[in-house]
Symmetry: C2
Subunit: 495 residues, 2 copies
């Protein structure tokens, strides 16, 4: 095949020889060689097709022709740095700004989510004159050294690693596995109080808070959806301490959550972060990224006297690609697709929960969904090995899914936004079969009575945006069977 220079074994051998061993491949005992991709499908060297349920970078679909054309055309014309004026830069800044609350008006273009989050820290340090950062348990914000410091997901991989002195780790606002669960009367306030406590403790040590940083929905941390109101309350505590709020949208932005363009908007219109960072999906795979902040923060950064120059950031090619991505999201109504197909997929997974004891929790917004596998529903014991089994068996059936979270037991759905109803049905059908097999082996079978009782909840409790039910007074998660595609639900989804 023209797209292959070496046979697969040779590729593996050369990779072992010349690529850092810390750079892991998926399915290391039998990795996949991909030679082309289109939409939500990837093809290996034998032209076998894989359904991609994980690649949130290929946001508008792998190799989208409009994006490719925009990039190729601009590459032919000009690709230089932002010390020269260029319309693509300002057009793109305008377009991004228009998706955000008005006060988030000043952009910095960089090359990766890591560069974006590092710059966000620099902005916060300069603006506040403080040094300390509050981050969440299991958070991942990037691979440069300043971000490893604030990423428990990473630094906990090192033996005996402790957070740096200037880093404080707050509870993850996880109402399934966290300190305050769905049976708590007000988890948003309770989790925000934890941040307040941390601030007070830091102050007692003479330390000062520069920023609170969180993904708007935690991704690697286990597809965690913070309770509504949490960000507002945290922002208040942090701002009272002279700090600012950084919303990391690198994984979840650009319409993925369905009801809104940005994940933080799920918290309500009354919440506006001081800095928003974006990345992965922004260029559909092209290395680019952006930090957007307020005029006040930007001017304070300038007042340090230090120029900010990023060699590749905001070049005309990146901006042309960024503009094309925004165009495709609009033209193909991909945010709405995320809402509908995401809702449908959530519902199908929810149905799985009714039949499979291994499914502990289904949670998500739009096409950002987690399936939390457990060995024991009461204890919520993470079913780590089983989650690995599911993704390996799916891979054999040419479906790409991954498991993440601190226990690596949460199946993560974050497919290209063109994901279809049929794709959703296919992956859920396969998971259904695999869970059936696994439960048979484990002797975990649900009684008819339980299945019927689960079905019963359908008529009892209202569902939220994605058809999920979070009963406020029960200890277990229950979900309706209502399809989010019906009219009543669509209305709810818009609120």
């Amino acid at each position: 095949m023209a797209t292959e220079n070496y046979d697969k074994q040779k590729t593996i051998d050369l990779r072992k020889k010349h690529v850092g061993p810390s750079c892991k491949v998926f399915f290391s005992h039998d990795p996949i060689k991909i030679v082309r991709a289109r939409g939500q499908y990837m093809y290996n060297e034998k032209d076998e097709k894989y359904l991609d349920c994980i690649n949130n970078v290929a946001h508008v679909g792998h190799c989208h022709p409009d994006v490719v054309e925009a990039g190729a055309k601009q590459m032919e014309l000009l690709n230089t740095n932002s010390r020269f004026l260029h319309d693509n830069l300002v057009l793109y800044a305008q377009r991004l700004q228009a998706t955000l609350p008005e006060k988030l008006s000043v952009c910095y273009f960089v090359n990766s989510g890591s560069e974006a989050n590092d710059l966000a820290l620099r902005l916060a340090w300069q603006y506040t004159g403080h040094k300390d950062i509050i981050t969440l348990e299991n958070a991942y914000h990037g691979h440069v050294s300043s971000l490893i410091d604030i990423s428990p997901y990473k630094f906990h991989q090192m033996t005996g690693a402790e957070p740096s002195q200037h880093v404080h780790v707050a509870f993850s606002p996880d109402i399934y596995r966290g300190k305050y669960c769905e049976d708590h009367p007000d988890p948003a306030t309770a989790y925000a109080e934890n941040v307040k406590d941390i601030i007070e403790q830091a102050h007692k040590k003479g330390r000062k808070i520069a920023a609170f940083i969180a993904e708007s929905l935690q991704s690697c941390g286990g597809q965690v959806i913070p309770p509504v109101g949490y960000f507002q309350k945290v922002a208040q505590h942090v701002r009272n301490a002279g700090g600012i709020f950084i919303a990391d949208e690198v994984q979840v932005g650009f319409g993925r959550v369905g009801t809104h363009f940005w994940g933080f908007q799920l918290q309500g219109e009354d919440f506006v972060p001081d800095i928003v960072t974006m990345g992965k999906p922004i260029g559909n795979g092209h290395p680019m990224s952006c930090v957007i902040t307020t005029r006040e923060v930007a001017e304070s950064f300038m007042s340090s006297g230090m120029e900010y120059f990023n060699t590749f950031g905001g070049n005309p090619v990146s901006c042309a690609i960024g503009l094309a991505v925004l165009d495709v999201i609009e033209k193909e109504d991909l945010q709405r697709n995320a809402l509908h197909i995401g809702g449908y997929l959530t519902q199908l997974l929810d149905d799985l929960k009714k039949r499979h004891l291994l499914v502990g929790d289904v949670r998500g917004r739009g096409l950002f969904i987690g399936l939390d596998l457990v060995r024991n529903r009461e204890k919520r014991t993470p079913a780590t090995a089983e989650a690995q089994d599911v993704i390996y068996r799916l891979k054999e059936q040419r479906i790409l899914l991954s498991a993440d979270g601190p226990h690596r037991n949460v199946l993560k759905f974050k497919p290209p936004m063109c994901f279809s109803r049929e794709d959703a049905e296919l992956v859920v059908e396969k998971i259904d079969q695999i869970l059936t097999d696994l439960e048979k082996t484990l002797g975990l079978q649900m009684s008819e009575a339980v299945i019927s009782e689960n079905g019963h909840t359908k008529r009892k409790e209202p569902s939220d945006e994605n058809g999920l039910v979070h009963p406020s007074n029960g200890s277990s998660h229950k979900h309706t069977g209502t399809l989010p595609l019906d009219k009543k639900n669509n209305k709810k989804q818009k609120t």
Copy 2:
């Protein structure tokens, strides 16, 4: 014009509104809007042509068709992360490795020089178990926070800024403006002794050295060429202290120095760094970058247990572009062009020195050249305002050049590698006129006698690779009039 959406003033206004004010444009009082570029030429919105003498990112020439085609073709086919196997990644790693000493065999692909240098620090910290970094005066290694820490060029822009505790600043090995000049019997040893002293001081405080980092030739620092043997001696001191040597080739790599593919190779075959970082020219403008190190360092990094994943790094598009850049360098013999045209340009600038008192020093290797302007040759007083004047007047004549170094008085030449003899003649002719004007205004005129004496040196002293003469026992720099394109010189240049 189809390539312009807004008139220039509107672009400026929007940029003021939506782009971080720390992001400066060139010639801020009358910035340039560029809409297309080709080879070593850039064109503004009126289709007026500028000669580009500064853009070392557009290494093989702006918008080189081979590079554009390679990128466009691969974008159409596949652009995904390196958790899947792909031949481009291993092909590219092989090709890069082949340009380096054999022990530098393991690659990490990232998105920018900043990401590369940050990763180099992480590798050094993990491998050595030490924390401290020795950097050079006026060094610039990138914009992420860990690199601002080791970049005096940046942190000195902030009022009252001092280096962090773990950062030690060594003398810049600058034999024109540094502590030990060309009249010193052995500046290489003397500058290396300074590093040794720093290590000893650090040890006295109980601190331990992780790495010494330096650009192979200092760029922003003022186009500084370290004396041959300096790196070897520094490496010995640093390795004796358990640290490693990081060569930053972000600005100067990929054949620019003419005689060699990498700048550090100018130090001799007996010098091999432990880590080499590359960036800017690597993708001719595409955001990509690489860190190459030894098997030992890479395995130690892996042993921490922390995976290294870079979302965009090493994607098939970046690798296709990287491969195309290497192909063009070879096919068009651009390293040799850098040697010859760089030598010729150096010679022309050298001739300027004979006629203009404002020229204090001409130094360079290949197409990496600095023209150090001075108000007083004896005192070597930096002619900062005059350097600014030169670049502004050149701009009016549509020639792009910049001034850098700690005093912003060094005119920096680092043009696309396809720079021609005619380009060299044009820029030097214009500088000649401008210097004549400036000297007239300043009342700085060289006597006929001096011009004749300068000419006289031609027959007295041998020239080095680029036709430069560094007399070992004089206090002033003198240069031959010998063209480096003649046979004898070409031979010398190969050594």
